[in-house]
Amino acid sequence: MMVALRQSLQQSSVRSLNSVCLLMIIAALLALPFADFRIYSVDPWSELSRIGMGLLLPGWQQPLSLLQAIVHTIAFALLAVAIAAPLGLLLAMVFRWRVVRLFCAAVRSVHELFWGLIFMQLYGISALTGLLAILVPFTGMFAKVFAEIFEQQSNTPAQTLPQAAPALARYVYTLIPQSLPALLSYTRYRFECALRSSAILGFIGLPTLGFHLESAFKQGYYSEAGALLWAFLLLIASIRYWLRPRLLPLYLLAAIWALPETVGFSSGGSLWRFISEDIWPTPLLQGDWPALAEWGAEMWQRQVWPGLLQTLLLTQVAVVLTGVVILLTYPLASRSLAGPWMRWPGRFLLLALRSAPEMVLAYIFLLLFGPSGLPVVLALALHNGGLIAFLVANASDAEEASRTRRPDDPTGLKRYAYVETPRRFPALLALLFYRWEVILRESAIMGLLGVATLGFFIDSAFEEIRYDRAMLLIVVGALLNMVVDTVSRRLRRSFAVAPV
């Protein structure tokens, strides 16, 4: 992905880049007074010191259950990516069909946790639920990004093929080989995302790391929570040492074998019942139109509209703040700015930020600032900022490695302001725009802080077993996501002109 992005970004124009940034910042400033921010005076230090102690002195009594949770986390992620990537590739080849584009936008606009909750209605707490919850949205994501990578490829090799060659041949002989490094690098990045998703699915009951993490955090067993966070961090940090292409078939077989066993699964009619009854409001099923109108009006007024508004406002502020976090943190981890040794603490910081689930960060900020949109925004900005800053620092290091230094190269702040940041900025912005829709989805799941985002209402609807409401809200969330996705694509195009 990086390769493709870099290629296209060389032609970016500074002016449109600046105006896009300005637009985003103005929108965020406009959102500020309306978003739900308020600081309450709190008294968090005894709780925070307990969390701190837990992180410093992690402890876990049953190594076997920890190991099992790690294995399950990896198994779900591996299998989901192994299925989603080829499916995404196939869909990417027909991405010019509008129906495919819409389908992909629809499936990826629903958060993994919500997919998990939906599939749980159909398949219970089972391996299938976990797999589908990751692979369905990931397929949509793969299709979109792969299609964009293909779009950025040069057309010349394809012209050497006979006129009558089928489209498939064009992909197999030219586009796929041309873009293979980008496809693989994106797949690797997605695997890391899949590990995170897999861990987080534990929050709703799948036997992954998140399962124990949620329990430990809930009960205030911070040394156990610390052990789980460290385990997850090490897992993410060590991916490149154990994820070898040659070992993949072995891993996949092992993953199938290691999937958690499904206990007492027996659902004959739940799929049909869910589709035909559960997700439709009762007045609709009874054909009672006035009552349906009333249901709709009430939902709009009490949940849909306030939820939409709050989700959008928080997202806008979070995106801009994410940009600030990237600009502040990436130099700490890059070789050319922090130096070959001093970059390690920076790299560790970014690793910690991107492997700590947002929920955990949000909880800590909740203790610090009290309940409002502020902890949500900070958690989203730090997590996503850490993630993108890591990619940006890597790109900087890759360039640094391939170039001989000149004695008159600027260093320090000058280098940051006049060399590195301008070089990184287009790619940085492109990544931020990719992440926009992710931030939107994630802001929706942080309703637990008493901030009435769409996700807050979706979660309530599932908790109250009101799937008709949940479905309406999920569809609204998906539509919002599609709008944001379209806007972000337009904006990205405006500063990154694809090669002719």
């Binding site: 005076s41 709780e47 219970g124 809930k218 205030g220 499904t262 203790l367 109250e464």
Partner: protein, 288 residues
């Protein structure tokens, strides 16, 4: 052996992927205790062993994360028996016609909730909820909890005649009683509603600093946690199975097993015992 196990897993996955149901005559139950959700598998595995011995069938336990997941598993017949909260039991039995509340904890006959407040909120304990509650920040426990949501919300509405969102400047859902205590103690929320049993056990464990947080009001008592069983178990596991399960639950005397819930013993219960809960849930629009 390993190879056979691998084959079994592969077949299982293949079956799952085909969407086929894997039916086994295993009696499955789930339980979410109101405190300490760690090591569920280990602790409730022992309860499963006990039930298996008493009932003469294989009994398995599945851990779940939320009342909603427990209700779904009960409805889809993934589990046949569940330890529900008052509200989740009512919700589940409405969705599974013929299902029955078998037994409740001794303590659940007269359960209650505490309203707790951070000292800085300046609220004093009293016979009723203080008027000064207006405009404070407030957190419930989990959204589907009887003691952390349903009953507190009912009494708030009864006394103040308005929805919590109107009464308080902010309403959160901590997700769990222990977290409600931690958050009110940290001042993140000024006031919270919590299960009395969790409060008392955390107090005994020295986790609560009473200089920072105190109980300001106690609700009247209400019925809470209970065992509910599906109505079709007799058909599947043999006549009289439901009664055998009830007897096994009432006979559970081992303190180690009871500590998992944690309850001192189980006593008989019926669906009617939970009518007040159902009425309350309807009154605050948690049930249609």
């Amino acid at each position: 052996m390993n190879f056979l196990r691998y084959i079994r897993h592969t077949c299982l996955l293949a079956l799952l992927l085909c969407g086929a149901a894997v039916q086994a005559e295993t009696f499955v139950f789930t339980a979410i205790p109101d405190q300490d959700e760690t090591q569920l598998q280990e602790r409730f595995g022992k309860v499963a062993d006990y039930l298996s011995k008493e009932l003469g069938v294989e009994v398995r336990y599945i851990p779940v994360k939320s009342y909603a997941a427990a209700i779904t598993a009960f409805r889809n017949n993934q589990v046949q028996l569940a330890w529900f909260g008052g509200l989740s039991g009512v919700q589940a039995r409405r969705l599974v016609p013929g299902s029955v509340a078998l037994a409740q904890g001794y303590e659940d006959q007269f359960f209650k909730s505490f309203f707790i407040a951070h000292k800085s909120a300046g609220l004093q304990p009293g016979e009723t909820l203080p008027e000064a509650l207006k405009g404070k920040t407030f957190t419930f426990g989990s959204k589907g909890s009887t003691s952390g949501r349903l009953m507190p919300e009912f009494y708030l509405r009864e006394q103040f005649g308005m929805a919590p969102e109107k009464l308080f400047s902010r309403v959160g859902f901590s997700g769990d009683h222990s977290r409600t205590i931690a958050q009110v103690q940290a001042g993140a929320y000024q006031v919270g509603a919590v299960n009395y049993a969790v409060w008392e056990s955390e107090l005994a464990a020295g986790k609560i600093d009473t200089d920072k947080v105190q109980v300001i009001w106690t609700t009247p008592t209400y019925p809470d946690y209970q065992w509910s069983i599906r109505g079709d178990v007799d058909k599947r596991f043999g006549a009289g199975f439901q009664d055998k399960v009830r007897a096994a639950l009432l006979d559970m005397k081992d303190p180690e097993l009871l500590a998992s819930f944690p309850r001192q013993s189980f006593v008989p219960a019926s669906n009617d015992d939970y009518d007040p809960i159902e009425e309350t849930a309807k009154a605050i629009d948690l049930l249609d």
